[in-house]
């Protein structure tokens, strides 16, 4: 995510948008914007009248008036409504314990699926992968997952098919490949038929028709971590050339 036009911060009291910031610096721009509505993203907090940075990274601003700190991160902190990929580690009575890469395991009720009842339980075994949404995430409690939306529909969530390949990467890479400007996934999708689930917790699951294609997609994703858009295009072209007709 680090681009060339990042200014080196002066590390005074004020945090400047687009430059490197440290915890404790004040975002004056947001603090003084009294009338306007301001959204505080991750890494920015309100302390009394001031908006204070609480993470080191690059301070970014996106429309409309969203301030957040873009930092390198490998550990996942659960956030409500984000979609994650979890591994079932335990079946305990009426909940499943799911490892979602955070400091604590998440719980998933067996009733949080579509078309299940107390008698008709979902078929989930230890070791299965689930693509689920975080229902509640708080500092003091374990996160809770669900596999249905608020209308009780499964939509795209649920247990991921057994055949597929799961690997882990940094959370920055997840954000990079999911940003609308990144051509990677759609470019690969024009040549290779594949299916993917990308969890905000730094896990990527890929299913393609054969091992070669799966590995190619995995390598392409991992190679694009620090690459610019043009380099990503080059990487894709090079890899696709090597691939026999799928």
């Amino acid at each position: 995510m680090v681009s060339e036009d990042v200014k080196v911060g002066h590390f005074g009291r004020e945090a400047i948008v687009g430059s490197v910031v440290l915890p404790g610096q004040v975002v004056e721009e947001a603090s003084s914007a009294e009338q306007k509505k301001v959204t505080l993203g991750p890494g920015v907090e309100r302390v009394k009248e001031n908006i204070v940075v609480c993470n080191s990274g690059i301070l970014k601003k996106s429309e409309p008036n969203i301030y957040y700190v873009d930092n390198l991160q490998k550990r996942y902190t659960p956030v409500r409504k984000e979609c994650v990929i979890g591994v079932v580690t335990m079946k305990a009575g009426d909940i499943f314990k799911i490892d979602i890469n955070s400091s604590e395991q998440a719980s998933l009720s067996y009733l949080a699926f579509e078309n299940v009842s107390k008698k008709n339980r979902p078929r989930i075994e230890v070791g299965d992968l689930v693509y689920a949404q975080i229902l509640s995430a708080s500092k003091d409690m374990e996160p809770e997952l669900v596999c249905v939306n608020s209308y009780g529909k499964q939509v795209t969530m649920g247990v991921l098919p057994a055949e597929g390949f799961l690997f882990q990467c940094s959370i920055n890479l997840i954000r990079k490949i999911l940003s609308p400007e990144c051509p990677l996934l759609s470019k690969l999708g024009k040549r290779i038929p594949y299916e993917t689930a990308i969890g905000m917790n730094g896990r990527i699951w890929i299913k393609a028709k054969n091992v070669d294609a799966t590995l190619l997609i995995g390598n392409a994703i991992l190679a694009s971590e620090y690459a610019s858009t043009e380099t990503i295009n080059e990487i894709c072209d090079n890899l696709l050339k090597k691939l026999p007709n799928v």
Partner: protein, 148 residues
């Protein structure tokens, strides 16, 4: 709080469980939660605090701040269901549209092959047209009735 409780009409649990009430159910749940929260903190909240409005919203998710794409994707027909959701804007119409047992083409073919059915259907529409034309001049009819 109890006065507010009385003001709002309560829908029974069974009605809310019905399929067509799902949206209302969600609304009722949100209202209930809000009320519950207010009741819990009523001792600590002053009137002034409750009326104060903040211009700051907290959004702890990168997905919203960065405007990320949906993260379940499928390409070139690997998983048709997912592709359907990708096309149809998060599946809002997939949810409402129920798949028909008999497609439109099938229905047209069956009707075309059976001539009596076509006539019956045609009759139905003729009748309706006649009814409508009668409706247009009900006054005159009434007049005639009163004349006789």
């Amino acid at each position: 709080m109890s006065a507010k409780h009385l003001k709002r009409k309560k829908l029974s649990k069974h009605i809310l469980e019905m399929k067509f009430m799902q949206r209302t159910k969600e609304k009722v749940r949100l209202l209930d939660e809000e009320e519950e929260g207010r009741a819990t903190f009523s001792s600590e909240l002053t009137e002034q605090m409750a009326d104060q409005k903040s211009n700051y919203f907290i959004q702890p998710s990168f997905a919203v701040c960065d405007g990320l794409m949906p993260s379940r994707l499928s390409f070139l027909g690997m998983n048709p269901l997912i592709e359907k959701f990708m096309k149809g804007e998060a599946g809002s119409d997939v949810q409402t549209k129920e798949e028909a047992d008999v497609s439109l083409e099938e229905m047209a073919e069956t009707y075309a092959s059976n001539s009596t059915l076509v006539e019956t259907m045609a009759n139905k529409f003729h009748k309706k047209k006649r009814d409508k034309s009668n409706d247009k001049e009900p006054d005159r009819k009434k007049m005639r009735l009163s004349d006789t």
